[in-house]
């Protein structure tokens, strides 16, 4: 089943894809992305070193397990339950259940998962992996609820979505959680020429890494809304191919001492278009950090990049910081970046007050306007 990824990836540049896969496998999360965690919050950082174990070490631990639940292919390690390869076999809404009880209902491997989970917990924690392939004949809309993460014993939940459908909309919702959350990694593979829209709503605490590999002339529209209870960390890694067109709109609203970190890394491409628009709001002593790194190599000529962030600080005790970085190694490109932080516009607040809006309602309207992108 896992070979599907490699078999169906033909339209992608193979070398680039494999390079990226290896990168993902070896470094599912780069420690530097989370360097702020320790400093800014007291939340537990889960051990993400699982893929730093050598293949042999892992095999030693799991040599007795069935091949079906442990597959190693070119640096990719898969564990845990697998999802149906085609959405047509499932109702329109597929839910990623992490609890064993629920997974039993939809997975034929439930017993093995349970068994392996027990072992894994004692060694390094269960890695929970799901694969969804959106084929041409599948419905255009895919809804995923990432639920009950806290019930699982896994530290790391990895969902791979491979889009082969020429037009696909994917809605991903993370349910509101008050307590500590587990790490969620989503890898989105988009075949050449496909047009994909992803709407991601992250409610509650979260640690998400969203990795995208875009095929040639693929188009991605990615909208993210992030509303944490106390903390939320989001890493976006985008690898583009010739002519791919990626637009990311990211909205974050931090309240009540929240901490939000956004990291945005792009490996550009020849004739690629990358547009990142971020709007953040910080209030009640919350902290937001936004960081972007756009890599444009010598081969990525005629590419276009726009990186733009606007932050709104509702009180002096909150903070919004950031650093957009453009690492450009060729001349024939268009690239702009901007980072701005401001207070609510007093003129607008006065205007709304003069129309009969209370201070609270006026501010609410200003915030709504700020995040309307």
């Amino acid at each position: 089943m896992f070979d599907l990824i490699h078999q169906n990836i033909v339209p992608l540049k193979k070398d680039k894809f494999h390079k990226h896969c290896n990168l993902l496998a070896k470094q599912p999360i780069d420690e530097k992305y989370y360097k702020h965690l320790d400093a800014n919050t007291n939340h537990l950082i889960y051990d993400m070193d699982i893929n730093n174990h050598s293949k042999e070490t892992i095999m030693d631990h799991y040599e007795s397990l069935d091949d079906r639940v442990l597959t190693c292919t070119d640096g990719f390690y898969y564990f845990g339950m697998t999802f149906p390869t085609s959405m047509s076999k499932q109702p329109s809404n597929l839910e990623l259940f992490s609890s064993y009880e629920h997974s039993r209902k939809i997975s034929q491997y439930s017993d093995i998962i349970k068994h392996r989970g027990t072992i894994a917990d004692t060694v390094m924690g269960l890695v929970f992996t799901g694969l969804i392939v959106c084929k041409k004949s599948d419905p255009e809309h895919l809804h995923i609820n990432v639920e009950n993460m806290t019930q699982t014993k896994s530290n790391f939940n990895h969902l791979i979505i491979h889009v082969q459908n020429p037009k696909q909309t994917i809605n991903i919702e993370y349910k509101r959680r008050e307590e500590e959350c587990k790490f969620v990694k989503i890898t989105l593979l988009i075949d050449a020429g496909c047009d994909v829209t992803v709407n991601e709503v992250i409610l509650g605490n979260s640690q998400v890494s969203f990795d995208v590999v875009c095929g040639e002339y693929a188009r991605l529209r990615h909208h993210i809304q992030q509303l944490p209870n106390s903390y939320s960390h989001y890493v976006s890694n985008v690898t583009m191919n010739t002519g791919s067109d990626v637009q990311i709109k990211h909205i974050s609203w931090a309240k009540r001492n929240n901490s939000i970190n956004l990291f945005n890394n792009v490996y550009h491409s020849h004739k690629g278009v990358y547009d990142f628009i971020s709007r953040t709001i910080a209030q009640d002593m919350s902290k937001i950090h936004v960081e972007g790194l756009i890599n444009v190599t010598k081969r990525d000529t005629h590419s276009s990049t726009e990186w733009n962030h606007k932050g709104l600080m509702l009180d002096e005790m909150s903070s919004i910081s950031g650093s957009p970085q453009l690492n450009i190694k060729t001349k024939e490109v268009t690239a702009t970046h901007g980072f701005a932080v401001s207070e609510p516009d007093k003129e607008i607040l006065n205007y709304l007050s003069s129309r009969g809006m209370s201070e609270h309602k006026a501010l609410q309207n200003v915030c709504v306007g700020h995040i309307s992108i």
Partner: protein
């Protein structure tokens, strides 16, 4: 009788713009004229308690002293200010703003949206005006029409217009001018209109001129 009364009222920034005004603006249309920079806009903004200027003295709406009230509270007393350069509100549509201001119920929305669209048509605004973001990408004239629409849908008693006629085409200027005259006749209200034009409102009830830090009634 409806009136706006100023008692020992002074307005200024670092220097005094208007000194010790004792004036009563009575029911009807009051035109305020004066040279650029004489303090017309500053005066009416100060009445709404907007702006960086400092004020001394008292403002009365009828006999109620509103000097210590905030902008929002003054609006609650029936005071309305139409801006000379209204700001853009991205993300908030024209009708959604009116809906928010008036706290419309579901029934009110249906009734008033149809009325709103009718007014937009009369003002020669685009058909989708109600759903466009407030003043975003709008011309000067269109912004003034938005201000006028707010006035129409809030129905205030004490109305301050800051150059509502500037930027409007001839048809819209005549339409709004006629509407204001009719509104003034039909309602018990005080209207203060800052304008440089003699043609906008013909035969106003009162004409005032700000000159030498004071205000005088010319008619």
């Amino acid at each position: 009788m409806t009136m706006i009364k100023l008692k020992d009222y002074s307005v200024g920034f670092d220097t005094l713009l208007l000194n010790n005004l004792n004036v009563e603006f009575s029911k009807g249309i009051n035109i305020i004229k004066g040279k650029n920079g004489c303090g017309k806009t500053t005066l009416i903004k100060s009445l709404m308690n907007i702006g960086p200027q400092e004020t001394m003295g008292n403002v009365y709406l009828n006999d109620v002293d509103v000097s210590e009230l905030s902008t929002y509270e003054r609006n609650e007393k029936g005071l309305f200010l139409s801006y000379q350069t209204p700001p853009e509100l991205p993300g908030i549509s024209n009708f959604a703003l009116i809906k928010d201001i008036n706290n419309y119920t579901a029934q009110d929305i249906a009734k008033n949206l149809s009325k709103y669209k009718g007014m937009c048509k009369q003002l020669q605004l685009p058909e989708d005006w109600h759903s466009r973001f407030h003043n975003v990408g709008a011309s000067g004239g269109e912004r003034k029409k938005n201000e006028f629409l707010h006035f129409v849908f809030t129905n205030p008693s004490y109305i301050l217009f800051d150059e509502i006629d500037s930027g409007l085409d001839e048809y819209s200027r005549t339409f709004i001018g006629d509407y204001l005259k009719q509104f003034s006749k039909d309602n018990d209200c005080v209207m203060l209109i800052v304008t440089h034009s003699n043609e906008f409102i013909t035969e106003p009830d009162y004409v005032w001129e700000i000159k030498d830090h004071t205000i005088q009634c010319l008619t």
